[in-house]
């Protein structure tokens, strides 16, 4: 089984760059985009003149209190006088950025694409939570006074109940990812913590506790993608985009079983089919699933078919997902360790896989041999799945 779409050109990632991820950065959104994009270009030995098209990702306009966030970011993202598009699918935006960049190049439209994800969550006071209120239905949900964490708590509780998973098991994700982040100089929340620490942290909306959640963050991440003929000239070690997939479920999130993210599976099946992967649990060597909350990593691993339904917690307990394990998961430190500037976070995860597959991840480098990798972003009202499969 191979591609289910007509691909004119094979596409590779040839450069990547990140800013620091932090609670509040001095830089403006444009400056963050520029810093990340400049680094990605430098790493590929290119300048902006070499770029044909620009893809921008930013999830939520209301974080900045501006409209037209794409246009607002375009100068910083290198979009001046170039074809520019901005994509936004909530938390799914991060991986949607390289996906969109991929089809710009795979279609033959652009030889090179600069792909930039940026989010600055610190503008809204007293807390970006207030702005998150706008994700709720204004008539059916907002009158109940919900906090954004409610929806995660309801999903996490359903997953725990359905799969008979304990809080201790889930807390191990936070422990692992924050520890992995100790090796990441861009990280906001690296730490050596224990399961006990997670269980003792403030309970916000049971079962969600403070250390179950990735911190809100400012930051940007960028990638350079190029069609094969160009990529081969830029580098001897291009990282190929083998498959992409994305799917959106209904916004009536309380009309369906939340114990399993079927939209992630749909997106994953699309990407694996394109990549010619039939047994992802055997073929994928390293993964960066979306982990805005610790249980989400397990949920996404199951949706990505890297574990059977309800099996991810057991594998985690056995050390399967450690950096030294059978299937290293979130070697970057994930969002729990890195911080979660929403649209930048999925670009960061893709960048991490790029570095891992090139053996350039330094102290974070997975030691076993790597061929294929998968990243996903998840978003909106338990709705959006975006998946990218890479290979070396």
């Amino acid at each position: 089984m191979r591609a289910n779409v007509h691909v004119k050109d094979r596409v590779a990632i040839v450069g990547a760059g990140l800013t620091l991820f932090a609670r509040r950065l001095l830089e403006t959104p444009q400056e963050l985009a520029w810093e990340a994009a400049s680094r990605a270009l430098d790493s590929a030995g290119l300048t902006l003149r070499d770029i044909d098209c620009v893809v921008i990702g930013s999830a939520v306009d209301a974080f900045d209190g501006v409209h037209m966030k794409g246009e607002y970011l375009a100068d910083g993202a290198g979009g001046f006088s170039k074809p520019v598009i901005r994509v936004a699918v909530g938390g799914g935006t991060g991986v949607m950025v390289p996906i969109t960049a991929w089809w710009h190049a795979a279609s033959g439209l652009c030889k090179t694409v600069l792909a930039v994800g940026e989010e600055k969550m610190s503008h809204a006071y007293p807390h970006p939570q207030g702005v998150f209120a706008y994700i709720w239905h204004p008539i059916l949900e907002r009158p109940l006074g919900p906090n954004l964490i409610w929806i995660f708590a309801l999903e996490m509780a359903k997953y725990m109940h359905e799969c008979r998973v304990s809080k201790e098991d889930i807390a191990l994700v936070s422990v692992k990812n924050k520890r992995n982040a100790l090796d990441n100089p861009h990280a906001q929340a690296p730490a050596n913590i224990t399961v006990e620490d997670v269980l003792k942290s403030e309970t916000l909306v049971w079962p969600v506790q403070l250390l179950d959640i990735s911190p809100v963050s400012d930051g940007a991440a960028a990638l350079v993608l190029a069609r094969e003929s160009v990529a081969r000239k830029i580098t001897d070690t291009p990282v190929w985009v083998e498959g992409v997939g994305f799917a959106l479920d209904s916004s009536f999130w309380y009309n369906r079983d939340l114990s399993y993210p079927r939209y992630v599976e749909q997106a994953a099946r699309m990407a694996y089919k394109m990549a010619g992967i039939e047994r992802p649990w055997k073929e994928i060597d390293v993964a960066e699933p979306h982990d805005p909350f610790d249980y989400k990593e397990l949920h996404n691993l199951e949706g990505l078919m890297l574990a059977r339904r309800c099996e991810a917690p057991k594998l985690l307990r056995e050390g399967y997902f450690e950096r030294s394990g059978e299937l290293p998961v979130s070697p970057s430190g994930g969002l729990l360790g890195m911080g979660n500037p929403i649209a930048a976070s999925g670009v960061m995860k893709t960048a991490e896989l790029f570095w891992q597959l090139r053996y350039e991840a330094g102290a974070r480098q997975v030691k076993k041999s790597l061929h294929k990798a998968v990243a996903n972003s998840w978003g909106d009202l338990m709705q959006a799945g975006t998946v990218i499969v890479l290979s070396r």
Binding site: L26, Q30, W34, S38, H123, P138
Partner: protein
């Protein structure tokens, strides 16, 4: 505001933006621009032979430019006269908003202009608030007035 739909009356529910406020740090470049404003100076950025105003963190080719003080005089490139505020209330007296371009620069600023006679090509200069009232933002400039 209720209307009839195909199943009877259509309901409405009211809502409001719940954010308390937005706080925008000036950015790395903005920090230097802000400090200059406190000193009563306006900065532009030199990219090759071009002077771009307002200053921005990077040049159009993505390179780092050099921050320079913008010298006057400023020329009125275009203007408009406003009679009502953003809520539609009539202003006590009309205000002139002008696009002002400094000599030899690309771009310019939009600001208030106070002049007996307003016309494109008018030469103007900024009038700053007293030093102690400045906060490093563009409203540290009260308005522009014609150069004698």
């Amino acid at each position: 505001m209720n209307k009839r739909g195909s199943h009877g009356e259509v309901a409405h529910v009211e809502g409001e933006m719940e954010v308390e406020k937005y706080v925008y740090p000036p950015g790395t470049l903005g920090e230097r621009v802000a400090e200059a404003l406190l000193e009563g100076k306006l900065l532009g950025i030199k990219c090759g032979n071009d002077l771009l105003v307002p200053a921005r963190p990077y040049c159009p080719d993505y390179g780092r430019g050099e921050l320079v003080e913008v010298q006057g005089p400023w020329t009125v490139e275009s203007y408009t006269i406003i009679y009502k505020d953003m809520r539609g209330e009539r202003l006590k007296e009309p205000q002139v908003i002008a696009l002002l371009k400094p000599e030899g620069a690309q771009g310019g600023l939009i600001h208030y202009l106070k002049a007996e006679k307003v016309f494109v090509g008018l030469k103007a200069r900024p009038v700053f608030k007293p030093r102690e009232e400045r906060r490093g933002v563009l409203s540290d400039i009260l308005y522009f007035i014609p150069v004698e």
